[in-house]
Structures are given as structure tokens and as C-alpha cells.
């Protein structure tokens, strides 16, 4: 299982993980939505050969052979995009043993190469993604134009084709109602911030994903530098807001109540779980409650509905699943 979503990385009190993703297409083939199934399969096997010959730690998975609930679980664990979990033949996934590098084949583009790291570590994630990108580029020709860069099915990805994202836990800024202001500020800087688990005024777990929106006319390095410097400002804002909140007794009370419910509840919906785990994660990162933050980081994707099913290799109905979730949470938080 992936260490990257569990580990406490750089700036781990606020940052859960970092991801770099490249959109790439192979010159001689039409983009996926104009490519027939046979050609997709042919291209997939060429890509497979290109990747596996250089990377022993990776395996090739035909998505048709994966049951839908497992596919959704892959999305819950950020190994594939939600779009990729949708129906289509001839999709394939190349995944590293550590689950820190994944390549989606025949998603919106022929290739979506992504690498993940725990905490804030854009450079390391970039190096890993770039290595695979180069391995494939040595064997197959990427669709590229000197004027507008890497060519993609959707023009929003033209240029570098690179999306750098950082997943942030922002319970204090959320509590203070500062997220919408933050969102409008970062949008002026070419970035976009959104809920990582569900949309709405308060996304599940107060977990957000911030990424670069512009890919053309800006180099990979600049885009990463830009993102990193804004993320660092958000981190320090969140830390200040936390300090303020934690001096508030009624907020502290709500943290310990959340901890109490998670420790003893017999039924937990994923919505309730996400709301409570956010408070407990904050308490853990700020060392108010003595639990490893790694444990909590792992619980967040692990307790999502499809992932609960996969772990128990069964299709439970919602009520059974809520009971099972509560039981597993009790076991992790108890002695």
C-alpha cells in the first residue's frame, strides 16, 4: 500500500501530500476520443513495453478486469482520477508497487503520468514523474508543437501539460470562514483550490487541493515555484489560525468530543467520519492528543466507502458499512 498518503512528510502538520501529473499523447495516434478500441489496445501495449522494460517495480492492469467498486477505491486513494473510474473499454493502469507512481492510459489523453509524495515535496514528485515521462519519450514520440508545447485533447492542458497539486488540511482557515477569500486570491495567481473530498461550502475533512491552472507560457520550474511559494503562505496562515482557535475553550471541547465519538461510536457515516477526523487530525498534528498523524492520514482514504468494501472484499450496504467503519476506527484509535 502507498506510503505517500500515510507518511508525515515535510510541513506534514498542514500538507498531506504532493502530486505532479503530466498529460501526454503519442504523435501518430489520434487522441483517445477519436481512437478506436483496437488502436487503443495496440498503443497501450507499446506504452506498457516502454515502461516495464525500464521499471521492474511497475505492473500493468487492464481496467476492464477490475470490478467497479475496486475502481472507485483506486480513485478514493488518488491513484486514478475519478473520470478514469468511469466506463470505457481499453483503459489501462500502470502502477508502481509502492503506489507512488501511476500512469493512466486512455484517460482524457493517451497518458496521464503521475507521481505522489508525502507532505510538501514538489521537487521529488517532479523527479519521479519526469523519469517515467522520459522513459516513454525515448521509445515513443510525444505530440508536441514548438509554439504551443505538448498537444492535449483539451486545450486547457497545452504547454507543459503539467499539473502540480498539493493536498492541504485547513481546518482552522475553514472554521474562520477564510476559504472563499483564499480561493479568489489564488485564482488571480493562476492557481485553483477546491475540496478534495466532495464540493460544497465545507468539503469533507477540510481537505483541499491546490494546483496550477495555467500550463502554457509558463515553465515547469516557474509553475512549481509559484505554487510552492503560495502554499507556504497558506501554511503559515493556517498555523496562525490554529494557534488562535486552540486558545478557545469551546473549540478544544469540540475536538475532544469528536475524539470521544470516533473512539466509541457504533455507526459512522463517511460524512460524519470526515467531519470528526478533521478535528482529531488537527489535535494530533498540534500534539494535543497523542496519536500519530500518520495513522490518521491513512484512515482518511481507507475509510471511504468503496475502500472499506475493497478491504473487506465484500459489497456491504450503507448501514453495514457504517458499522464496520465505526469498528475499524475504534480499533485504530483504541489501545
Amino acid at each position: 500500500m502507498g506510503k505517500w498518503y500515510r507518511d508525515f512528510g515535510p510541513e506534514g502538520d498542514v500538507v498531506l501530500s504532493t502530486r505532479i501529473r503530466f498529460a501526454r499523447n503519442i504523435r501518430e495516434y489520434p487522441f483517445p476520443f477519436r481512437l478506436d478500441e483496437d488502436k487503443k489496445k495496440e498503443l497501450n501495449s507499446r506504452i506498457k513495453d516502454a515502461v516495464l522494460s525500464d521499471n521492474e517495480n511497475m505492473s500493468f492492469i487492464e481496467m476492464e478486469s477490475v470490478p467497479a467498486f475496486q475502481t472507485v477505491s483506486l480513485a478514493e486513494r488518488h491513484l486514478i482520477s475519478p473520470e478514469f473510474a468511469g466506463p470505457s473499454k481499453s483503459k489501462a493502469l500502470i502502477l508502481s508497487d509502492e503506489e507512488d507512481v501511476s500512469i493512466m492510459l486512455q484517460e482524457e489523453d493517451h497518458l496521464r503520468i503521475q507521481a505522489m509524495e508525502a507532505g510538501l515535496d514538489l521537487e521529488k514528485a517532479y523527479e519521479k514523474a519526469e523519469k517515467v515521462e522520459k522513459d516513454i519519450g525515448r521509445v515513443l514520440n510525444y505530440a508536441f508543437d514548438e509554439r504551443i508545447g505538448f498537444l492535449t485533447q483539451c486545450p486547457t492542458n497545452l504547454g507543459t501539460g503539467m499539473r502540480a497539486s498539493v493536498m492541504l488540511h485547513l481546518p482552522a482557515l475553514t472554521k474562520q470562514g477564510l476559504i472563499s477569500r483564499l480561493a479568489s486570491t489564488v485564482s488571480k495567481l493562476g492557481l485553483v483550490i477546491r475540496g478534495a473530498y466532495g464540493e460544497g461550502s465545507q468539503p469533507g475533512g477540510d481537505i483541499y487541493q491546490i494546483s496550477n491552472q495555467i500550463t502554457l507560457g509558463i515553465s515547469e520550474k516557474e509553475a512549481i515555484f509559484n505554487l510552492e511559494s503560495i502554499v507556504k503562505q497558506i501554511i503559515s496562515q493556517e498555523r496562525n489560525a490554529r494557534k488562535e482557535l486552540l486558545s478557545d475553550e469551546s473549540y478544544l471541547d469540540s475536538i475532544f468530543r469528536a475524539y470521544g465519538i470516533l473512539k466509541y461510536a457504533r455507526k459512522l457515516t463517511s460524512n460524519e467520519f470526515m467531519k470528526l477526523i478533521s478535528l482529531v487530525r488537527l489535535a494530533s498534528a498540534e500534539k494535543i492528543i497523542d496519536i500519530d498523524t500518520e495513522k490518521i492520514n491513512a484512515m482518511i482514504p481507507d475509510m471511504q466507502p468503496a475502500t472499506v468494501n475493497v478491504r473487506n472484499s465484500s459489497m456491504l450496504d450503507a448501514e453495514e458499512r457504517d458499522k464496520l467503519r465505526a469498528k475499524e476506527v475504534r480499533e485504530i484509535l483504541g489501545e
Binding site: 499523447n25 504523435r27 495516434y29 489520434p30 487522441f31 476520443f33 477519436r34 470490478p67 467497479a68 472507485v72 480513485a75 478514493e76 482520477s81 475519478p82 473520470e83 473510474a85 468511469g86 514520440n141 510525444y142 505530440a143 508536441f144 508543437d145 514548438e146 509554439r147 504551443i148 498537444l151 492535449t152 485533447q153 483539451c154 486545450p155 486547457t156 497545452l158 504547454g159 507543459t160 477546491r194 475540496g195 478534495a196 473530498y197 466532495g198 464540493e199 469533507g204 483541499y208 487541493q209 495555467i214 500550463t215 502554457l216 507560457g217 509558463i218 515553465s219 515547469e220 463517511s270 460524512n271 471511504q304 466507502p305 468503496a306 468494501n309 459489497m315 456491504l316 450496504d317 450503507a318
Partner: protein, 170 residues
């Protein structure tokens, strides 16, 4: 359409939702929708993805009647289809419809010139190798001919001396 999960029942629940900050669409029967937990964690929201991306492109000027619709030779897409779907068909489409796409690209990114890594960089044998002496002499002789034709004898004499010098070195 059959349920994507059990592949047995008719899909009645079409879920547009956001997972991990990204848009997805799933087609499930009501049983599977409940079992997969789509009732409690994913909050759906409604907008049409086609419209959303379609908005990036400016509508083409209406075609004059009788004029032929231009299509990409590789994948068969017309510019109108690109506007309708919000998708480009292949790398050649970008070449074929480059001028028409440019305003939309400008609108999306604010820029139209790539400034990042370059793809498919070939090995260093493409890098200019140094010219051989013979090649230089041939070039000089060419220049001298032109100079003579232009009756620029001063320059021609200079070039002649240069060539002589180089030949004697060989």
C-alpha cells in the same frame, strides 16, 4: 445503458460528482449506487461538461452555403465539431485549425507561446558539427563568384587571398 458495476440491471442512477477535486460521471443501478456509497459521500452537482469545455472555443462564423466543411485529414474532425465537443481530435488538428484555435488558447492561458520543456529531443548528433576546411573553401569560392558578378573586385581579391591561404595550409 447497463449498470457499470453489476452489468446486469439497467442504470437508473447517473451520478455527476466530484471525487478528489475532480469531475466524474458514473452510471449505476439503484442497488449498486446504494452499495457503493454514492448516497452519502459524494455530493452531486449539475453542469454539463460538454457545455463547460465548449465555452472555451469561440463559435465559427457560419459557413456560406455550398462551401465545403474543412476536416482534419488524419482524424476527420471539423472545426465545428471541435467547438461542439470541446475536444481536439489529434495532433494534426492543431496544425490544421491553428489560427482558429489561437484566440481560445489565448483566452484560456493568457499566452500562446510554450515556455517549458521540449519533447522528443534527438541525440546530440543533430547538433551542428564543425565545418571542414573543404566546406569553408567551397563557401568562400561561392562568395567570390558573387562578388565578381557584382563587380566588387576589391572584395573578390580579398576572398581569393583568403582561399589561397587556406589551401596552402592543407
Amino acid at each position: 445503458m447497463l449498470c457499470q458495476n453489476c452489468k446486469k440491471h439497467e442504470a437508473t442512477t447517473h451520478i455527476k460528482s466530484v471525487v478528489n477535486g475532480e469531475y466524474t460521471q458514473l452510471h449505476l443501478c439503484s442497488d449498486c449506487a446504494g452499495k457503493l456509497g454514492y448516497t452519502d459521500v459524494f455530493s452531486g452537482f449539475g453542469f454539463d461538461l460538454g457545455d463547460f469545455f465548449g465555452n472555451f472555443f469561440s463559435k465559427p462564423k457560419t459557413m456560406l452555403s455550398g462551401s465545403k466543411v474543412e476536416r482534419c485529414e488524419k482524424c476527420g474532425m471539423s472545426f465545428e465539431e471541435i467547438v461542439k465537443t470541446g475536444k481536439i481530435g489529434c495532433a494534426d488538428c492543431y496544425e490544421k485549425f491553428y489560427e482558429m484555435l489561437l484566440p481560445s488558447i489565448q483566452r484560456i492561458h493568457g499566452k500562446t507561446q510554450h515556455n517549458g520543456k521540449v519533447a522528443n529531443v534527438t541525440e546530440p548528433d543533430e547538433v551542428k558539427k564543425e565545418k571542414t576546411k573543404e566546406e569553408i573553401i567551397a563557401e568562400l569560392q561561392e562568395e567570390m563568384k558573387v562578388a565578381i558578378e557584382e563587380q566588387n573586385f576589391e572584395k573578390a581579391a580579398e576572398l581569393r587571398d583568403k582561399i589561397k591561404g587556406m589551401e596552402s595550409e592543407m
